[in-house]
Symmetry: C2
Subunit: 209 residues, 2 copies
DNA sequence: TAGATTGTTAATCGATTAACAATC
DNA sequence: TAGATTGTTAATCGATTAACAATC
């Protein structure tokens, strides 16, 4: 069971459902129908039901979905029912910002260490900063669920290769480059400049839409 | 001419083509075929040709595409042939990181000012920081092509509304929330936590792929 | 010219939407 | 029970891929 292949399109929508369910729960809403959820997200009720149906369906005929139950199921599906140990490579602007961002930790994604070629401060907030030479020993000793690549573009793929060789299976990449990794490693890109380009595209082509 | 509606899927691929073309040009490569470009990006040659064909086609039968020419055309299409004035709302971790990120400026996206409810320093790098109360006057006086929302989630939609009311047409949103804006305003989201959730989803469901 | 490769139309594939029987 | 709303199958739509005539 549960071996059905879920399309990438569906997977990318799950976090958004989760976010709205969190919101509804905070508002004290206890039940929600596919129709009202759809209206909230700006999608069709069909899509909402199809998406949940991929995982077996979590609703009750004639009633809808229990908000807390559905949220819990989504958390389970997304793997948010555990903690993740993260390290950040690159203690520049982005690396430091991510290290200081409290809400990731609150959601179970714990930044354990930063690495850079130059250690200017021993810690950023309460997270230790190490020389990049220590990376290998650190990972071997402490393990790492997710490595964040927040380096210069020029060294990003070398760093990625090193992390892959150390057995890290998940890379969160902020460098503007496509990383080549083996099949069993997954990469999520935060493509900031590409996103900016889409904005400028739309500005230029506004009249044509 | 040029009024053909381009699908979102195509638009999102354009920045990636542009990035590879930049790379090829730097490497001194002067011509490229749809086939070799496709191999590089991990897509089909058909898709490459279709995508460019949407804008009229920039190649030569039997030859391929001239790298510099194609890159120039993509820059034009993406609106990278001009400068953009940006402001950042929120001088916290992310706002500061973006303000300090040099490559946006190099690409023509100039951060002109930061705004926050509290001004701890008069400038971050060489970018002035103002009290959020000055936002309205600033925008009326200096204009703003793109506003970056780097605030707490709780105030993000208020800030967005204010920016929209001031006539800002492009929002680059880093807050984990969906902004509601009129049709003539465009929003690009950098959904960091959603991206993290996709990573954790894949970790949990690795065996099933 | 012959070979290569485009631009573009047609075919395929997958994702979204509609419909409705099942059922709470 | 009657009304509501799900889970799921079938129909539609759009995006991707294949094919090939045009042509450099």
């Amino acid at each position: 069971m549960g071996n059905k292949v879920i399309s990438e399109a569906v997977v990318k929508r799950l976090p958004r459902y989760y976010r709205y369910l969190e919101h509804l729960e905070q508002e004290g809403v206890t039940k929600v129908s596919s129709g009202s959820l759809a209206r909230l997200l700006g999608v069709t009720a069909s899509q909402v039901r199809q998406d949940f149906c991929n995982f077996g369906g979590f609703g009750q005929h004639g009633y809808g979905y229990d908000v807390s139950y559905l949220k819990g199921k989504l958390a389970e599906i997304l793997g948010l029912d555990r903690q993740y140990d993260m390290i950040i490579i690159g203690a520049g602007n982005i690396g430091r910002a991510l290290a200081g961002y409290k809400s990731f930790a609150a959601e179970g994604f714990k930044v354990r260490a930063l690495f850079d070629i130059e250690v200017r401060e021993p810690r950023i907030g309460d997270i230790p900063v190490y020389n990049i030479e220590k990376l290998s020993d650190y990972v071997k000793e402490n393990g790492c669920d997710i490595a964040v690549i927040a380096t210069q573009k020029s060294v990003a793929s070398d760093v990625a290769n090193q992390l892959v060789a150390l057995g890290v299976k998940s890379l969160w990449n902020f460098a503007p480059i496509d990383l080549e990794v083996p099949d069993d490693v997954s990469v999520e890109n935060i493509a900031m400049s590409e996103s900016l380009y889409v904005l400028s595209y739309r500005m230029k082509n506004k009249n044509k839409n």
